[in-house]
């Protein structure tokens, strides 16, 4: 479970302080699929980065499974990200010199899996998203949709507690976007917690709950059935 209390994030540029998140209280239960929406500049990606421990808030608290993240060292945050979280980025964020298989296997190896075991698990994850025939291709040899599926495989191969996705379909065509959302639906059906930032209403509607942000605050929360 993730809980934020009065979460704030400000950016300072010289004397100018910009408050992007203005005291957000938020709870995500295990197994939930949450879509975060809002217009550009509303603070949705910034919010995702805070709760996924990629950034540090300037105020408030984040509690992850009872752990107060404010007290965590960078090393502990790194361990948390490695073992508990999976990330899917808008631009796929694959390492260009690693093949699809290596990209997916890398976090597993960092978890101290042997190379053989990591490769085996990575190959299974890639096969599940329909890329069993693309294991040894470099990202530059894959289409955008395929790269995003590799990114999802990397995010889920180590069976994370929470999957964070930052506009995962923004750079994809309709078919690829649908394929990505199908994967998310399957994962959610199997109990995966997913928190996804999106600006696409049709994909947000697939979630359990839509959280709408505006000007750094939550303005509405809509549950499935009321979408």
């Amino acid at each position: 479970m993730i809980e934020t209390k009065k979460l704030e994030r400000s950016f300072q540029n010289g004397d100018v302080v910009t408050r992007v998140l203005k005291g957000i209280d938020f709870i995500a239960k295990d197994g939930e699929f949450i879509a975060i929406m809002g217009r550009s500049g509303a603070g949705k990606s910034t919010f995702l980065y805070q709760i996924s421990l990629l950034d540090e808030p300037t105020g408030g608290e984040i509690v992850l499974d009872g752990h107060d993240t404010h007290r965590m060292s960078e090393h502990e945050r790194m361990k948390f990200r490695l073992n508990k979280f999976g990330y899917v980025f808008q631009d796929y964020a694959l390492l260009p010199e690693l093949t699809a298989l290596e990209n997916v296997a890398l976090p597993l190896m960092m978890q101290d899996h042997t190379k053989a075991s990591a490769y085996k698990q990575a190959a299974e994850a890639l096969t599940k998203v329909g890329l069993g025939h693309r294991l040894h291709n470099l990202p530059s040899q894959l289409s955008g949709g395929e790269q995003q599926r590799v990114s999802i495989s990397r995010a889920i191969a180590h069976k994370p507690k929470i999957l964070f996705a930052d506009e995962p379909t923004a750079n994809l065509d309709n078919d690829s976007s649908s394929a990505v959302m199908d994967i998310f639906n399957d994962l959610h059906a199997k109990g995966q917690t997913i928190i996804m930032v999106t600006h696409e209403e049709q994909y947000a509607k697939l979630s359990d709950r839509i959280v709408r942000l505006d000007d750094g605050t939550i303005v509405s929360q809509t549950h499935r059935g009321h979408h």
Partner: protein, 415 residues
């Protein structure tokens, strides 16, 4: 293998395997040039003098030289000393020399009474032509005429510095013989005895003791200096391959030769200025090498820094997905080591397979020596170690600078 090392190695091998060939080639090229700068510049500097020392050994002193004590006219009991030499198994060959100072005069037949005599001083060596050539290879240094034989009567070899046509300087204090070549008759005066001799050949060497010497068959020379007791002035020893001159010197001293003569290894007998120059060139070589090392470090720093800056986003992603900063640093260190090791490996190949044999076969023709490339393996490996160490540091620092930046800022490219 510790986890960070394993992941760092994994990342490094992939980065290297899939890096641009041009970039990899360029970095390795820089490392090769740096290595050559480290090894070859100082190696040639030292080699200039080493060449001179080597020629001093092979053309004059041999490996060990036994000479007259300062307060004696010759090596007393020379037959006894020679007997001891013959009993040492380390010695392959030796040559004995009679040496006296003398004067040479040319053009005396055509000189008018008002003309200044054309004379020059020289060290005259009475030698056994066969033994001398076996130890010093002097016959190969003949540039005009031919070498002496045991039966030559009143014939001499002249060092080329005694002849004006070979002397590159026009200095009134530096006397040389004019119009003298093979077949010319000259006067040789030693200890008040003058004899007319014929020039049989000219010896050209970069060792002063040879280039300013006059060689004559020892039996002839003995009759000039009036010495028939078998006592000689110099004995040069050539040792069997691999034998230690210092050990032979010790063996001779142990047998009492030190009381009759001065016993020196070729290194002991080197003129002090040569030793000083070797020391100075070593220092200069180290100074040039240090500059090369700094340049290499800066180059690697810049290369890794640019690489890390342009890959900052991916470094951020690696950290974001939970790869430790240490593992990422290790990957850059491995890459730096790779560049240094491959660069040094190619450098070692070039030095030992190509350059050292090339300089041996075609020494640099300096006025005072035939310069070779001196690259002892132990000091070369020490320089390889230095280069790798400097490269590792130069690779680590920029990687660390980038890795320490905020993870999200790196991913988003924010400053």
């Amino acid at each position: 293998m510790p986890l960070n090392l394993r992941i760092g190695f994994f990342l490094a091998t992939r980065a290297l395997r899939r890096a641009s060939l041009w970039t990899t080639g360029l970095i390795i090229g820089v490392m090769v040039l740096t290595f050559l700068n480290l090894v070859v510049v100082s190696g040639i500097l030292v080699g200039l003098i080493q060449g001179s020392i080597e020629q001093w050994r092979t053309e004059y002193t041999g490996d060990v030289i036994i000479s007259t004590l300062t307060d004696k006219k010759f090596i007393e009991n020379s037959p006894n000393v020679i007997g001891i030499i013959n009993g040492l198994p380390q010695i392959e060959k030796y040559t004995t020399r009679y040496r006296e100072s003398g004067t040479l005069e040319a053009n005396y037949k055509t000189r008018k009474d008002t003309d200044k005599p054309n004379t020059t001083g020289a060290q005259i060596s009475g030698i056994d032509p066969y033994q001398e050539n076996a130890v010093t290879g002097v016959a190969k240094k003949i540039v005009e005429g031919s070498y002496l034989t045991a039966n030559d009567y009143d014939q001499v070899l002249l060092g080329h510095y005694l002849l004006s046509q070979y002397v590159p300087i026009d200095n009134p204090d530096f006397a040389a013989l004019n119009n003298v070549g093979v077949g010319t008759k000259i006067r040789l005066t030693v200890g008040g005895v003058t004899r007319e001799v014929t020039v049989k050949g000219v010896v050209k060497s970069k060792v002063d003791e040879v280039s300013r010497a006059v060689y004559m068959v020892d039996t002839q020379f003995r009759s000039i200096i009036g010495r028939n007791d078998g006592n000689v002035d110099v004995i040069a020893l050539k040792l069997k391959k691999g034998e230690d001159p210092e050990a032979v010197k010790e063996a001779l001293l142990l047998r009492g030769v030190g009381t009759l003569a001065k016993v020196q290894t070729f290194e002991d007998a080197q003129p002090k200025f040569l030793k000083d120059i070797v020391s100075m060139f070593n220092t200069l070589g180290s100074a040039f090498g240090s500059i090369g090392l700094v340049v290499a470090s800066i180059t690697i720093f810049i290369v890794v820094f640019i690489n890390a800056i342009t890959r900052r986003k991916f470094i951020g992603i690696l950290k974001g997905i939970g790869i430790s900063g240490r593992a990422i640093e290790v990957s850059y260190i491995f890459q730096s080591i790779f560049y240094a090791v491959v660069g040094s490996g190619i450098g070692l190949f070039l030095v030992y397979v190509f350059l050292v044999p090339l300089f041996q076969a075609h020494p640099i023709d300096f006025p005072f020596s035939d310069g070779i490339l001196v690259a002892p393996l132990d000091s070369t490996l020490y320089r390889v170690g230095l280069l790798i160490f400097a490269t590792v540091i130069a690779g680590y620092i920029p990687a660390r600078m980038i890795i320490r930046k905020n993870t999200l800022d790196s991913i988003l490219g924010r400053n």
